[in-house]
């Protein structure tokens, strides 16, 4: 099946359309079935993926607006493959664990459309198609936050939409400018990213374009100081909204850096290492401190999620195989772990209708299974060895050490700070005597909740112990990208800093 990528994009969308016909009571089962089929399709994609090939696979190209250079152009490589898998997995698990009672059918349909746009973003190889899915993904999320959220939901939803929309419009101007430069050099209009890769731009162009793309991606990540929309969105969003937002939507930003900024503007990226690293370190330390100060459990997870995005950012700008490969791996780990943590917070919220830690205490005695899973996810989030969180964080720090040891140490505080606030959450909520009367009779995990969390626990441990099957294809594509960035770079500093591994195979076996 050569057109599996189109199938992956449009299957959920068509299912969403047909979903209007499905009866309200069966909507949930329908959604889960569709998401499961989609997940199986993405597994099929993984199995038919040629791990020996670093380039784009399953490429599809249909001209849409030839006069303007817009093509329906899709493809997948090692970098995007696992993000797609994570997207379909988290959508499936999010749907299984969903506890929403109100308008379930609308929620299912919205989620299916959201899945289409998310997969679309990660497989698009044409800038306009990418932009199209990127913008379209805002609409379902706006609806999810705005319709099922907390008391401030409308404010949070609009803030989320406008923030991201503004950033991406500046990015769009950047895209149009790249297309213009491409046209003036070759005489052909093209928005294909692979064509743009071949473009060697002067340094001042690179800097301006880097800035334009940066605004679009950084708001989505969200980087300090553009992160203010995220705590609102998380605070007000329903559990499923937070899960998808943290697991997938934020990854669009970091994926954008890997897919666009680095290969297209290698010199500008190298010049921007220090400013971005400084912002990322502020983001890591500052949001970790903010997380410690929170009283609301979900806000702690939200700020910790921002803090860990800082690690991903710093890894991307390490400009070597460990750093970038580690970041891509960390994207997966962050998606699974923070998604699971949001689900866990949602579970306790469903029982107690509060997320304040002062309301809990001694939950470990009442809900042992819950406490165990929470503990594992928490350790993974902190980056304990043998969990998924360790692999990515370690590789990122290892990679960035070559750029600047001092900054690496500062970024490494994320592990310590993470442990501080996470363990304090765990202590306040799970240990000690059961103080509140309401907490004494809480039910432990139901079968539905257990079955949605256990696979995630399994993945967390499996990839923590043996990350090779995932890391290898990622590193292969990352190495190919680095080779090509190094060739393309014009300034001496950039050529110096971009580290091309001598042998592309050794790096996958760091562990």
């Amino acid at each position: 099946m050569d057109n599996i990528l189109s199938v992956l994009i449009f299957f959920p969308a068509i299912a969403g359309l047909l979903g209007f016909v499905v009866d309200k009571k069966s909507a949930r089962a329908y959604g889960i079935t569709v998401a499961a089929i989609e997940f199986l399709l993405s597994l099929w994609l993984w199995f038919s993926f040629d791990t020996g090939n670093a380039g784009m696979q399953f490429v599809e190209m249909i001209p849409l607006i030839p006069d303007f250079g817009v093509n329906y152009y899709l493809g997948v490589d090692g970098i995007s493959l696992f993000i797609i898998l994570m997207t379909t997995l988290m959508t499936l698990i999010g749907m299984v664990s969903m506890s929403i009672e109100k308008d379930v059918k609308n929620m299912i349909i919205t989620l299916l459309f959201l899945e289409m746009t998310m997969v679309g973003v990660f497989v698009a190889l044409d800038a306009i198609v990418f932009y199209l899915f990127w913008e379209l993904s805002l609409v379902p999320m706006l609806y999810i936050v705005g319709a099922w959220g907390g008391p401030l939901r409308v404010y949070a939803a609009i803030k989320f939409f406008l923030y991201t929309f503004m950033g991406s419009l500046v990015m769009l101007v950047g895209m149009l400018f790249v297309a213009y430069v491409y046209h003036s050099l070759t005489g052909v209009w093209s928005f294909a990213i692979t064509d743009w890769y071949a473009l060697v731009l002067p340094v001042n162009y690179q800097l301006w374009l880097f800035a334009a793309f940066f605004l679009g991606f950084a708001i989505k990540v969200p980087m300090f100081p553009f992160h203010t929309w995220l705590p609102y969105a998380h605070g007000q969003a329903p559990t499923i909204g937070s899960v998808i937002l943290a697991a997938v939507l934020l990854k669009m930003g970091t994926y954008g850096f890997v897919r666009f900024s680095l290969p297209m503007f290698p010199d500008a990226s190298v010049m921007m290492i220090t400013p971005i690293a400084v912002l990322s370190i502020i983001m890591i330390i500052y949001t970790a401190m903010v997380a410690y100060a929170q009283k609301d459990m979900k806000q702690v997870i939200a700020y910790s999620s921002v803090s860990h995005m800082g690690i991903i950012m710093i890894g991307i700008f390490a400009m070597n195989s460990e750093g970038i490969g580690g970041s891509v791996f960390q994207m997966l780990s962050h998606g699974i772990v923070s998604g699971a943590l949001f689900m866990l917070v949602g579970i306790i919220y469903d029982r107690r209708h509060t997320k304040l830690m002062s309301e809990f205490g001694g939950l470990a005695a009442v809900m042992p299974k819950y406490a165990v899973i929470f503990g594992i996810m928490l350790m993974a989030s902190v980056g304990l060895p043998l969990t998924i969180g360790f692999v990515g964080e370690f590789l990122v720090l290892l990679g960035f050490y070559e750029i600047s040891p001092v900054m690496t140490i500062l970024a490494g505080t994320s592990i310590i700070l993470g442990a501080v606030y996470m363990l304090s959450v765990f202590k306040k909520s799970f240990f000690g005597p059961v103080t509140k009367e309401e907490n004494k009779n809480l039910k432990d995990l139901t079968a539905k909740e257990t079955w949605s969390l256990v696979p995630l626990v399994a993945i967390v441990i499996w990839l923590g112990v043996y990350p090779k099957p995932v890391l290898d294809p990622i590193n292969k594509s990352v190495n190919a990208m680095l080779v090509f960035m190094e060739e393309k770079a014009i300034t001496a500093e950039a050529k110096d800093i971009i580290k091309v591994p001598q042998s592309a195979t050794t790096v996958g076996e760091v562990k």
Binding site: G146, A157, F161, V170
Partner: protein
């Protein structure tokens, strides 16, 4: 002793006049029909109007590019053909909106349809000439009919709107006459192609710049009135509010297309002569218009007024393309209107179907945002379609207006105005707020239990029009390519 005028019929090239004559003759036929039998139902007139417009469309599309006719007064070049086609298509879409399930005063008169056809003919004259007098005649024919059409809505605020529009329009007409007079005094001609020749020969003379300045300011004032550009935009929200919803949607498109064609002819000429301050003037007007109208739209409490400000802002957005003076820039003007047309008419048609059962004499607004609160629970399909139009207007891909926006921005980038593209992008982000506001009201709020419920003025023909508008909005990605290549071909063929 004057010599008898000898003109051969062939040199008149009367076929260039055919489209307008069809519309005018059609209007007369409608009047005659009413004279013979005054009890005919409005549906007959609606269908007749559509048929006449279809014939008009056929006659226009068959014209040859770059011909002159009728004593060289008529100019059939690429932009005159495509603008006529756009005008006719918008008119065809507008006409069936008369077939509402409720009875409305204006449609009970056949004169409405006759005036409508005269107006179309007026706009066609306006775009199919580079003779300042014929442009003026076309402008006045169309405007006078339009004033009357607004007033026919028979509400106190429609009279207000019509009178306001009339006064402003009369003032603008005065400025046009004065501007044309200055051009004539300067060059001894009112044919723009001759004006251009004379001016380019005399551009070095002292004092000529002052005279050009006078003429272009006067003409710019006129067109700014018609295009509702800052600072001459203040009439627009009141007039849109007073006019019936479909007519307001129509006014946001057709008169502006016609005025843009005139602006391209006049100011494109000045730009070609290398007069740079004209470009600066257009850019300033465009940027102030789009920004100010966006900010004003943010604070509106009435959906119709919000849409009025939004269409002012869209006009400012496209005005910026005029300053580029490239083939792509000119193409983008028409592409934008071709795509904007369906979405905008659709949005106004959605207002048209949601009316109050009882007239509200005490309320300030006819379409407050609260009226749409929770529409998704009352009328899910309607809410989804309206949201689609709003997202399209906001420039969310892949809906139609996005492709217009991206083409305008690409044209700006190509002409070296990257900052202009960024200003456009930021304006689109501001605009997203007020479009979203309506979406939020429809989807995220609960219906207001008001004393008088909202009555839905829906009928099959309206559903067809709205459905068509929705399909063209969604499926834009599939027809942008042929549209762009046709427009680009026509415009480059006529040398713009």
């Amino acid at each position: 002793m004057f010599e008898p005028i000898k003109v051969s019929l062939e040199s008149l090239n009367l076929v260039t006049l055919a489209p307008m004559l069809i519309a005018i003759a059609g209007g007369l036929v409608i009047l005659v029909l009413d004279l013979i039998n005054s009890k005919l139902h409005k549906s007959l007139y609606v269908m007749l109007t559509i048929l006449l417009l279809v014939v008009d469309f056929g006659a226009t599309i068959g014209l040859n590019v770059n011909e002159r006719g009728f004593f060289d007064v008529m100019l059939i070049d690429g932009i005159s053909i495509i603008s006529q086609l756009l005008i006719i298509v918008a008119s065809i879409l507008f006409t069936p909106l008369a077939l509402t399930s409720k009875r409305f005063h204006e449609y009970s008169y056949p004169e409405f349809f006759a005036l409508f056809l005269f107006m179309v003919a007026g706009f066609q004259f306006m775009v199919a000439s580079d003779n300042l007098i014929l442009i003026f005649v076309g402008l006045e024919t169309a405007s006078l009919s339009l004033y009357t059409l607004i007033a026919l809505h028979n509400r106190s605020n429609s009279y207000e709107a019509a009178v306001k529009y009339f006064t402003m329009g009369a003032l603008a007409a005065g400025f046009f006459a004065m501007g044309a007079a200055v051009v004539y005094a300067l060059t001894g001609s009112i044919e723009l192609y001759q004006v251009a020749q004379v001016l380019s020969a005399r551009l070095g003379e002292t004092g000529i710049m002052a005279a050009i300045f006078g003429s272009s300011v006067l003409l710019m004032v006129t067109l700014a009135f018609k295009l509702s550009l800052f600072p001459f935009h203040t009439w627009a929200p009141d007039v849109y509010e007073g006019a019936s919803a479909p007519l307001a949607g129509y006014m946001a498109i057709v008169p502006k297309i016609a005025a843009f064609v005139v602006a391209i002819r006049i100011f494109g000429m000045y730009l070609d002569l290398g007069i740079e301050w004209v470009r600066v003037m257009i850019l300033i007007l465009a940027i102030v218009t789009m920004t100010l109208a966006n900010v004003m739209a943010l604070v509106q409490e009435d959906v119709k007024r919000m849409l009025a400000y939004s269409s002012i802002s869209h006009a400012g957005f496209i005005m910026a393309a005029l300053a580029l003076d490239t083939t792509e820039g000119t193409t983008s003007i028409f592409l934008y209107y071709a795509l904007f047309m369906f979405t905008n008419l659709g949005a106004f048609a959605m207002l048209w179907i949601s009316r109050h059962k009882v007239r509200r004499f005490d309320a300030r607004y006819d379409h407050p945002f609260s009226k749409f609160a929770g529409l998704v629970q009352i009328m899910p399909m309607g809410a989804v379609i309206m949201a689609l139009f709003m997202l399209s207007l906001a420039g969310v891909p892949p809906f139609s207006v996005f492709w217009g926006k991206i083409y305008v921005m690409q044209a700006a980038v190509n002409a070296g105005y990257v900052w202009l593209a960024i200003v456009m992008g930021l304006n689109a982000a501001i605009a997203a707020y007020y479009y979203l506001k309506l979406v939020v009201y429809m989807f995220l709020k609960d219906p207001v239990k008001d004393v008088d419920t909202v009555y839905y003025n829906l009928s099959k023909p309206l559903m067809v029009v709205i459905g068509f508008a929705a399909v063209t909005t969604i499926a834009a990605i599939f027809y942008v390519q042929p549209l762009v290549s046709y427009l680009y071909y026509m415009i480059s063929a006529s040398g713009y």
